[in-house]
């Protein structure tokens, strides 16, 4: 039993093991199959991944392509629903392309258009062929829009139509161009017809015009003749030239330059300029030829070698051939006037400076001079110092003269004129200037010399400067000729280098036979501080001739010079003759030498304390009763008080300028209100002030220029008070 059981169990075990082995084999086989299938599946997946990658890449490329083309593009299924649309399409309809997928075109353009498009799609699918369509859209913003659409069927691998593909572009611009072209074409046709008619008419008109032109040509020829005459008779020089080569000139050119026409047309413009000016001349010609006509000043050389100042206006008259017309106007006279003006300005600018300090300076000189003269009077001869005071006094006079010279340059320095003959004053001044020298004076004056309105002091200065200058130009002995003559000038009667208004003049000439003045220095000799002499003291300061020039100008006169080196120099002064006519020279001077007939009572108003006191002392010595005051306000008060007290002043000396206080002019106005017969003398260092030059017009009875001496006071007072008597 046990054996049987064991046997059965062994068989069962064997069978079970066999079954397990069998199942294991199956399991192993299943495992291998699974592994193989997995391997195969992986292989497939790997290939699929590669295909997906490729597809993805293709899709990316396609998307990139389709989205970057500017035209609208789309794909539709068989029911005209969008499968895909590109960016341009989305932008055109204002919708996101993704939202259009699955939709029909109705969402973009409405039902009516959508139905039409669906019909197009249907036709394309039925025909299986591409069609090209043009569609018009009405756009409220842009007006009319035209689109060209190309629709093609989409076929699957079996050739079955599954949908449509389309591409469309905006052809509005092209359509507009086509329409515009058509319109232009029609317009052109119309214009051609019109033009043909016009030409026929014009042909007729042309015949008339030809006849008219012939008449016009005739008129032109006459006009040319007129212009030729104008050219020939122009007062200005007219030169026609080509690149400098003279082609033609008018008569004025010949007269101005001293050449004949034949000579000039064989010359060039450059021949009219000194060698050194020719490059500049060429530059100007080039500028003119470049089309920039211009006006400039230059100098032309005459046939005799002298130069003439001209103002040239040039312009190109024939640009094609480079022909230039130049008009030359003689401006020598204008240049002289300009030079004169410039010289005057120079003097005025220096005078401005001098005038500024003259007031204070003259006050100081008045004090010094007055004090010296008083000291000399009081000095006993035995003290032996009188000579020193005399020298000091002389120095003061020279300082005074220097101030006067400087002030003369200013716009002030106006002469205090008297109408008188000049001969005697000139002779005396010349004699005085040559006193103590070895030179002799040869003086002559024409009989019946005209009167002149002039400032004696200034005119003395002029003669002194000119005679001194002549003497210094002659080394050693010599004769200086001084002449006084009446001349008529102006108009055709002119003197070289001077510009005169027509009228009567008294000419004063001072001639020496000295070293002469080089020609190149002549234009500068009237400039301040110009001198050929050594500097120092008064001699050689270069103010003499400048001062003379200034004085003569202020007398509305002229001064000129003629000189030749080694031969001598002649200065000529021209003074306008007075309108007051002739006067016997013997009556020309009125001696004022009498003392005050009574002891007049004088009020002195002077802001400078020392001068005030000194003036008071000088007047007292002259026998006047004096009261002093420092400004106009006080003076008016004192004058009124004296009147009220019944002991009025006989006269007043009023300082013109009182810094910070009432000056003489205003004070006189106040005094006149109290006493219309008041006699007032104005005093000032500003000899150029209008009140000083025209004191009578301003209500004064006399004027005294600072610095002054006792004798000056005496003279002015006597004259002022005697005027009333005469």
């Amino acid at each position: 039993m046990e054996d049987d059981t064991r046997t059965q169990l062994a068989e069962q075990l064997k069978a079970a093991r066999s079954e397990v082995a069998h199942y294991r084999e199956i399991a192993e086989e299943v495992g291998k199959v699974r592994l193989r299938e997995t391997e195969e599946l992986s292989q497939l997946i790997s290939e699929l991944r590669q295909a997906q990658e490729l597809l993805k890449q293709r899709n990316t490329e396609l998307d990139s392509f389709i989205n970057n083309i500017p035209d609208m593009a789309w794909l539709k299924d068989a029911r005209s629903r969008f499968i895909a649309v590109n960016r341009a399409f989305g932008e055109a309809v204002g919708m996101d392309p993704k939202t259009l997928v699955g939709q029909t075109v109705e969402v973009c353009y409405g039902k009516e258009k959508a139905d039409a498009f669906r019909e197009h799609d249907r036709r394309v699918m039925e025909a299986g062929k591409r069609v090209v369509l043009e569609e018009r859209f009405a756009d409220s913003e842009n007006g009319e829009t035209w689109v060209e659409a190309i629709k093609s069927p989409i076929l699957d691998d079996s050739g079955r139509v599954t949908g449509t593909a389309g591409i469309a572009r905006d052809i509005s611009h092209r359509k507009r161009m086509e329409m515009a072209l058509q319109k232009a074409h029609e317009e052109l046709e119309k214009r051609v017809k019109e033009r043909t008619a016009e030409l026929l008419e014009a042909n007729t008109t042309l015949k008339h015009e030809i006849a008219e032109r012939k008449r016009a040509e005739m008129a032109l020829r006459k006009s040319e003749e007129r212009f030729r005459r104008l050219f020939e008779h122009s007062n200005d020089a007219v030169i026609i030239h080509e690149s400098g080569k003279i082609l033609d000139v008018n008569q004025s050119t010949c007269e101005m330059l001293g050449y004949s026409r034949e000579q000039l047309v064989s010359m060039s413009i450059f021949d009219l300029h000194p060698e050194e000016d020719r490059p500049e001349c060429l530059g100007k010609i080039n500028t003119i030829r470049a089309g920039r006509g211009r006006q400039f000043e230059t100098q032309w050389m005459r046939a005799d070698g002298t130069m003439v100042d001209v103002e040239v206006s040039s312009r190109v008259v024939d640009p094609e051939n480079g022909i230039v017309q130049g008009l030359g106007r003689d401006i020598s006279r204008r240049k002289e006037i300009q030079d004169e003006l410039l010289k005057t300005k120079k003097l005025e600018s220096i005078g401005m400076l001098a005038g500024g300090i003259a007031h204070d300076y003259n006050n100081l000189l008045s004090i010094i001079l007055g004090s010296i003269s008083m000291a000399r009077e009081d000095l006993k001869p035995e003290y032996g110092i009188s000579e020193f005071l005399k020298e000091a006094e002389k120095a003061c006079f020279r300082a005074k003269n220097l101030t006067r010279q400087l002030v003369t340059f200013s716009k002030g320095g106006a002469p205090i004129k008297e109408t008188a003959p000049v001969s005697e004053l000139i002779r005396e001044s010349a004699r005085h200037a040559l006193r103590g020298s070895s030179a002799s004076l040869d003086f002559s004056a024409s009989n019946g010399a005209w009167l002149v309105d002039y400032d004696k002091g200034q005119m003395e200065d002029v003669i002194t400067y000119l005679v001194t200058n002549a003497h210094e130009a002659m080394p050693g002995d010599g004769v200086i000729k001084v002449r006084v003559e009446n001349v008529h000038l102006g108009g055709e009667h002119q003197e070289p280098g001077l510009s005169f208004q027509e009228g009567r003049y008294v000419r004063i000439s001072v001639q020496d036979k000295g070293v002469g003045i080089p020609e190149q220095l002549l234009p500068s000799i009237f400039d301040p501080y110009f001198s050929t002499k050594e500097m120092g003291d008064q001699k050689g300061m270069g103010l003499g001739l400048a001062t003379a020039y200034s004085i003569i100008k202020r007398h509305d006169g002229h001064i000129g010079v003629e000189s030749k080196v080694g031969v001598g120099t002649t200065f000529r002064v021209y003074l306008p003759a007075s309108e007051k006519g002739l006067l016997d020279e013997k009556d020309g001077h009125r001696e004022i030498d009498r003392l005050p007939s009574t002891a007049e009572k004088i009020l002195v108003m002077e802001d400078e304390e020392m001068l005030r006191d000194l003036t008071g002392k000088m007047l007292e010595r002259l026998g006047y009763e004096v009261q002093l005051t420092k400004d106009g306000g006080e003076a008016v008060g004192l004058y009124k008080a004296a009147m009220d007290a019944g002991v009025p002043f006989d006269g007043a000396i009023l300082d013109l300028t009182v810094p910070g206080g009432m000056g003489g002019k205003q004070a006189l106005r106040k005094l006149c209100e109290m006493d219309p017969k008041v006699k007032a003398i104005v005093s000032s260092g500003y000899s150029d002030d209008p009140v000083m030059t025209d004191w009578r017009q301003h209500g004064f009875v006399g004027a005294i220029v600072k610095p002054y001496q006792k004798k000056d006071l005496r003279e002015v007072l006597l004259k002022a008070f005697s005027d009333d008597d005469t």
């Binding site: 399991a27 699974r34 592994l35 997995t38 992986s42 997946i45």
Partner: protein
């Protein structure tokens, strides 16, 4: 807890570090960063990347992580080019201790002990995050790559700090060529290191393991000759010959690692219904040049161990990723907690181009996290570490998904 995620893909490591950090700070509205988890491609200049991160975040904020085959975030997934990513965490309630030990290639267990001691000396914790250099020696003409073994490392850690604290982490892999890797060790960068961070505080860690292999034929084999990680014989027969027969050819011998077959050890009922969570998988890194044996990723098997050949199943892998990600998120929410941050440690072999799938399994994880709006950082690793069957283990061919959830 606030978490910001940054990601960029560029060769310039300094640019990469700065922009990853700036994006993370901005995305998470981070004002005072507490901790950074950062990973980058093996070919990126790790030191430059690390320094650039520090320059933005601050050099007093610990940065842990290191090399990765690829990077996963909520919206990016890449293992091509030079991807890099980081999670910047700001929390006043998160307590942590960072430690790192090196010379892993000399003694894994000793390194584990040192790491465990360094961390556990200071505080208790709810979770140990640990990343280590998985490559002891890169492959050569005479040998497949030799890996640093996770079992002795984990054993060493647990010896020092006990096994109560779950260990989640990874053996880092720089690339598919098994090149050397580098680790971000808190404040420095080095190789052959294990860096750990013990986390504690007002959070709860949730985790799941994604599988994807099933037994090839259900036949158990017994290892009869093994030395370290090299298996020579099973059932008394050369294992290489057995695999030759299974494939029906020798082509598999050129694969490093093997693409289809792995070695599985069933810790569940031997002939019970298949449960993926009961199997520990070991990737076959390759065969020895002359067919003497096969090299496993881990040297933790021994003679007498019963194994089954496992077949990688891509469909199961994707399904597992989706099912476990959804399940884990549902679990967190069911507990009334807020999922603050997710970390996905994904085996590099599960990437689509290696596992030859049409889609990335990690997409399933991204979808779940994006639906919930939870910040996610993940990376492709060599070995995944997570508790399985009550014990923290080194795993192959898995994905370990972890969520830090707040009350």
């Amino acid at each position: 807890m606030r978490v910001g995620i940054g990601y960029h893909n560029r060769q310039d490591a300094t640019w990469l570090g700065r922009h990853v950090a700036e994006d993370a700070m901005a995305n998470g509205a981070i004002e005072r960063p507490s901790l950074v988890l950062a990973f980058c491609s093996g070919q990126t200049d790790h030191a430059a990347y690390f320094n650039a991160l520090q320059a933005v975040i601050g050099d007093d904020v610990p940065i842990i992580g290191g090399s990765a085959v690829g990077i996963i975030t909520n919206h990016h997934l890449s293992y091509e080019g030079d991807p890099a990513g980081a999670a910047v965490i700001e929390s006043d309630t998160l307590l942590f201790r960072v430690a790192a030990v090196c010379d892993l290639d000399k003694d894994e267990k000793g390194a584990g002990q040192a790491l465990g001691k360094e961390i556990s000396d200071h505080r208790a914790g709810k979770l140990l995050l640990m990343f280590y250099d998985s490559v002891k020696d890169p492959p050569s003409a005479s040998s497949p790559p030799i890996m640093n073994a996770s079992p002795p490392l984990i054993e060493g850690i647990e010896e020092a700090m006990g096994s109560e604290v779950p260990i989640i982490g990874a053996g880092l892999l720089a690339d598919y060529a098994f090149s050397h890797t580098r680790q971000f060790c808190g404040s420095f960068v080095d190789s052959q290191c294990a860096v750990g961070i013990l986390l504690d505080g007002a959070f709860k860690p949730y985790y799941r393991i994604m599988h994807g292999c099933a037994p090839l034929d259900g036949i158990y084999h017994t290892i009869t000759k093994i030395k370290g990680s090299v298996v020579y014989e099973v059932d008394g027969l050369p294992v290489v010959k057995l695999i030759d027969e299974t494939y029906g050819n020798r082509n598999w011998r050129h694969q490093v690692p093997l693409r289809r077959l792995t070695i599985g050890v069933n810790h569940g009922e031997k002939y019970g219904p298949f449960e993926e969570g009961h199997y520990v998988n070991r990737v076959i890194a390759g065969s020895l040049p002359h067919g003497q044996g096969i090299v496993l990723f881990e040297p933790d098997l021994e003679e007498g161990t019963q194994i089954v050949f496992m077949l990688r199943d891509s469909a199961k892998m994707i399904e597992s990723a989706r099912k476990n990600a959804e399940g884990l998120m549902e679990e967190v929410l069911a507990h009334g907690r807020r999922p603050a941050f997710g970390l996905y440690i994904d085996c590099a072999g599960r990437a689509a181009h290696i596992s030859e799938t049409l889609s990335e399994e990690a997409r399933e994880v991204q979808d779940v996290f994006n639906r919930q709006g939870t910040p996610l950082l993940g990376f492709y690793s060599g070995v995944e570490v997570a508790p399985l069957l009550g014990k923290s283990r080194g795993l192959d061919w898995t994905g370990v998904l972890m969520i830090l959830a707040e009350e």
